[in-house]
């Protein structure tokens, strides 16, 4: 809440700002990434503004836990700034650069990937490289999992640290659907045969745009052009496949395609109400978590399409003008620790997929991660091995724009 006496407030704020600016300049010069212990010492007393999408209560509660531990152990106050669309945070950094605010930025740590990362990196708006200097980075075993160094085909080059993994996973209600369709073409056939049983969130809702990319990858048979910056010729050639597919699909969707759910949570609600029998999520454990919370019926099962589904890594980045870079790095390192990753993957808490390589852990540490695979509503481990790479980040905004142009005024 703003102090009513803004005048007094602003003077105090300016003084405080100047002080902080001086100290941050001092630390910026002194940040020695090879000496982690002194970095941790420097980070003491810092306040880290962690801008992260705030649309999922489970993630928010997890970040509350992180804040408590960070304060207790490292004397760092982590403030979760709930963002509804990461693009907002990106434009905030851009605006700060335009205003000449080069060392007093309002964002210290940012949950990011894909087009937003590409935009910031391209414009030199990120601090780094720092990620591979984190002591816990070795836990992700990036040599075995190259996706830890690649964000939607763009090399991360140490400008982002992995946090969790996402993969598009489909789930269906066995009460209404015995044998779910196994690829994107089968979804069309099945949907036409049993209309009103399927829908997808309206792009540019993140999950809806991901469905468009999944369809395009399968329809084009993983055309290599998808993994390079989009050109109008390629967009024309491949987009054509997608529009033909969607034109055929839409009349058979829920409400005959005249209405699309607004978000991932909206889609889950439709499933919970029994309005549809097939849905999908970007968290492989979505169905499991929602069955436990009672939002979905116990008859729900998860699976991955037979040609694989889009998977990506959620990363953390530090804007170039972040005020508290040391604190941000200590936080990112903690989020990669076995303890934080185990809590993040615990279905009783955040329930996401860890970024660190579980099979490289010793058997005792591994036990903390065992809880999920045995649950009926979760996808099998073999299923999750069928991964598809994200297309180049430039495809997403192009697809979203074209979708809105074609379908938003039917």
């Amino acid at each position: 809440m703003e102090a009513p006496d803004t005048h007094f407030f602003s003077i105090r704020f300016i003084l405080l700002g100047t002080l902080l600016q001086l100290t941050s300049l001092a630390t910026a010069q002194a940040l020695d990434l090879s000496d982690w212990q002194s970095l941790e010492r420097q980070a003491r007393g810092e306040t880290v503004y962690f801008n992260a999408w705030g649309g999922e209560p489970r993630t928010n509660n997890y970040l509350n836990w992180v804040s408590e531990l960070m304060l207790e152990r490292y004397d760092i106050s982590v403030q979760h700034v709930k963002v509804s669309d990461t693009a907002e945070a990106v434009s905030k950094v851009v605006a700060q650069r335009q205003a000449g605010n080069d060392d007093n930025g309002s964002i210290d740590l940012l949950w990011i990937n894909g087009e937003n990362f590409a935009a910031l990196k391209e414009n030199d708006l990120l601090y780094g490289p720092w990620a591979e200097s984190l002591p816990n980075f070795k836990l992700v075993n990036a040599d075995r999992f190259p996706e830890m160094r690649e964000d939607f085909t763009v090399p991360t080059q140490g400008f982002e640290s992995p946090w969790t993994r996402s993969q598009l996973v489909f789930y269906y209600d066995t009460q209404w659907l015995a044998e779910p369709p196994q690829d994107i073409r089968q979804i069309l056939e099945w949907s036409i045969a049993s209309p009103g049983e399927f829908t997808y969130p309206r792009p540019p809702a993140f999950l809806g745009s991901t469905f468009l990319k999944q369809a395009l990858i399968e329809l084009s048979d993983r055309d290599p052009a998808l993994y390079a910056p989009v050109t109008s010729a390629e967009f024309e050639r491949l987009g054509h496949l997608l529009w033909e597919y969607l034109d055929a699909l839409h009349p058979s969707l829920l409400r005959s395609g005249r209405y699309f759910p607004a978000s991932a949570i909206d889609l889950r609600r439709l499933m919970g109400d029994g309005e549809i029998s097939l849905a999908f999520a970007f968290n492989p454990n979505e169905a499991l978590l929602s069955v436990r919370s009672g939002e979905l019926p116990p008859s729900v099962r998860s699976y991955v399409l037979r040609n694989g589904t889009i998977s990506n890594v959620n990363f953390l980045a530090i804007p170039y003008n972040a005020k508290q870079k040391a604190g941000a790095m200590v936080t990112a390192n903690f989020l990669l620790s076995i303890e934080a990753q185990a809590r993040a993957s615990d279905p009783d808490h955040m329930g996401s997929t860890p970024a660190i390589s579980i099979s490289d852990l010793d058997s005792e540490a591994r036990r903390a991660f065992d809880t999920i695979s045995r649950d009926l509503a979760a996808p099998s481990v073999e299923d999750l091995d069928r991964k598809l790479q994200e297309p180049h980040p430039s495809w997403m905004p192009a697809l979203e724009k074209a979708w809105i142009q074609r379908y938003s005024a039917k």
Partner: protein, 559 residues
């Protein structure tokens, strides 16, 4: 001494609204210094007309702008014609104020939870009556032509127009005129429609036009109930305004001016309808018909109002059930279990918006109350009654919110004054002021002047007689005005959203923001909090005078 009050009241009402509207025009034509653009151009308009579905967006805004007042007014007139003086009427009159305090957003959520394919109503009749094992695949909420939006607006505006009519009716002495007409052989309902309706309408014309503007430009109700492919014009303007890409501000400005034009067009259509119905009415009166259609009017008038009441109570029930529902599979009529989990899990997130809501509503209402009392007191002392033009009071309701708020933002941003609490309180004050004035002025003007004269005779100064005589005597009306002012502030969405730059959140702004990205249970929790705040205010306004004057029977009755 108090003359400043009525002057500043006029200035505060007119200047921000007219200035805001004028300033909103500039960026629509390319002039936006904060974004580094100082040259005029028509680019934004060229872009605007190429937006897919823009015509449909305008059509829907027009449709709800004209049909909402038409149907709501028809229902109110039919009701007044058929039910005046009946037992039902006593009931409804008592319920009108609480109905009015039901915030728009909460009412819209409740309606959605009631009539959606998987809503309470569908569950109550399934599978027994309907045979539905699963929700029917019907496009009800967010339908393409905004019919659910229209329905929600009508349900909300009927109590408003009814209250305005009830306030205006006594000066027309309806029972005398109806009796006279009846002695000439007219059936009572026909008499009411032929004699009272034509003289009542001019008295409530301004509120009706306010309804047109609200219905054609509402954002929060349209976000919840309105179409999505494409949404109404006002919803699109807000989306462009909030977009991370600041260049869309030009498009948003052009859209806001288009919204102003759309609302004006809706008013123009309404004025034509006025002319047409005047002719038809005159023709109908001239026929001298005394009873035809009586039964139809009677059943429509008596039937419609209970239906509106039922819909509102059903919406309330749907909200309450969802706020405490455990797992709730379709088609069970009620949840399998009840839980407080939705409340406890979100309690922390509720706190800041709740405190902001209280601060903003108390602040804006207090400012408005001081100014209104000062104005009324100066009016009384100078002996010039009704010096304030009533239509000016309606100004904040006659210009679409999104238009002049947009201009105010452009202005405050260029002065680096955006997103502060004081700005939000000021924005709310503009909307609270008219209601506080309208609800307090009658009681203030009608207070017997002899009380003050007696006080002066006994040697009390004007100041002393103000504090010791008039304020205590007017305690109940003042508290009612405070409750109304706070209820208005609590229900406001757009002023908080725009002037607070998204950084200052209230219960209402958060609840509306949840509409697309939260579970029904969570939304219900926020909506229940939202609607219970004004209820608590009205409860306090009723009970406080009784407590203070518990040993002064006569004081409790003064209203």
């Amino acid at each position: 001494m108090l003359r400043w009050a009525s002057h500043s009241l006029l200035i505060l009402l007119t200047v921000p609204i007219l200035l805001g509207t004028l300033i909103a025009i500039l960026p629509a034509f390319g002039y936006f210094p904060t974004l580094g653009s100082t040259e005029f151009s028509l680019d934004a308009w060229r872009e605007l007309i190429q937006i897919p579905g823009i015509t449909r967006s305008i059509q829907i805004s027009l449709l709800s702008g004209v049909l909402t007042p038409l149907i709501a007014l028809a229902l109110v007139f039919l009701y007044l014609a058929s039910a005046s003086g009946s037992k039902l009427d006593n009931w409804i009159r008592r319920l009108v104020s609480p109905l009015l305090s039901f915030p728009h957003a909460a009412a819209a959520f409740g309606l959605a939870f009631l009539i959606a394919p998987s809503g309470l109503l569908s569950r109550l009749i399934s599978p027994g009556l309907s045979g539905w094992e699963r929700p029917p695949d019907l496009l009800i909420v967010n339908d393409t032509w905004g019919l659910t939006l229209l329905f929600g607006l009508i349900v909300k505006e009927v109590p408003f127009l009814l209250l305005m009519s009830l306030a205006a009716l006594p000066q027309l002495q309806p029972s005398k005129h109806v009796e006279l007409a009846r002695s000439l052989g007219y059936r009572p309902t026909i008499a009411w429609l032929k004699v009272i309706a034509p003289s009542l309408y001019p008295l409530i014309r301004l509120p009706v036009i306010a309804v047109i503007v609200f219905a054609s430009a509402t954002v929060d109700v349209a976000l919840i109930l309105g179409p999505t492919l494409p949404p109404t014009l006002s919803v699109r303007v807000l989306a462009w305004f909030n977009d991370a890409d600041l260049n869309l501000r030009f498009l948003a400005a052009a859209g806001a001016i288009l919204q102003l034009g759309t609302s004006l067009l809706a008013i123009t259509i309404w004025l034509c309808l006025e002319k047409l119905s005047a002719i038809l009415w005159r023709f109908w009166v001239a026929t001298g018909d005394r009873g035809t259609g009586e039964r139809l009017v009677f059943s429509l008038g008596r039937g419609a109002m209970p239906i509106v009441l039922l819909v509102v109570s059903g919406s309330l029930a749907a909200l309450l059930v969802n706020a405490f529902a455990g797992p709730w599979r379709y088609p069970s009529a009620l949840p399998a279990s009840w839980t407080l989990l939705h409340w406890t899990s979100d309690f922390q997130n509720l706190l800041t918006p709740l405190l902001n809501t209280l601060l903003i509503s108390v602040g804006s209402t207090f400012l408005a109350l001081v100014l209104v009392i000062a104005t009324l007191e100066s009016e009384r002392q100078s002996g010039k009654l009704r010096s304030t033009a009533t239509w000016l009071l309606y100004l904040p309701l006659l210009v679409p919110q999104i238009v002049f708020l947009f201009g105010l933002i452009v202005l405050t941003e260029s002065m680096q004054w955006q997103g502060t609490m004081s700005l939000v309180i000021f924005g709310h004050f503009l909307f609270v002021l008219p209601y506080v004035f309208l609800s307090l002025s009658e009681a203030y003007r009608q207070l017997d002047p002899r009380w003050s004269q007696v006080a002066s005779t006994l040697g009390a100064s004007p100041l002393k007689s103000f504090w010791r005589i008039r304020i205590p005597l007017l305690l109940a009306p003042c508290l009612t005005a405070i409750a109304i002012g706070m209820a208005i502030s609590i229900s406001l969405f757009l002023p908080t959203q725009l002037l607070g730059a998204g950084r200052i959140t209230t219960i209402t702004s958060e609840a509306v923001a949840l509409s697309s990205g939260a579970s029904r249970n969570l939304i219900a929790v926020w909506a229940v909090v939202q609607l219970s705040l004004p209820m608590l205010g009205f409860l306090a306004a009723l009970t406080v005078p009784r407590l203070i004057w518990r040993n002064r029977t006569g004081m409790r009755e003064i209203r």
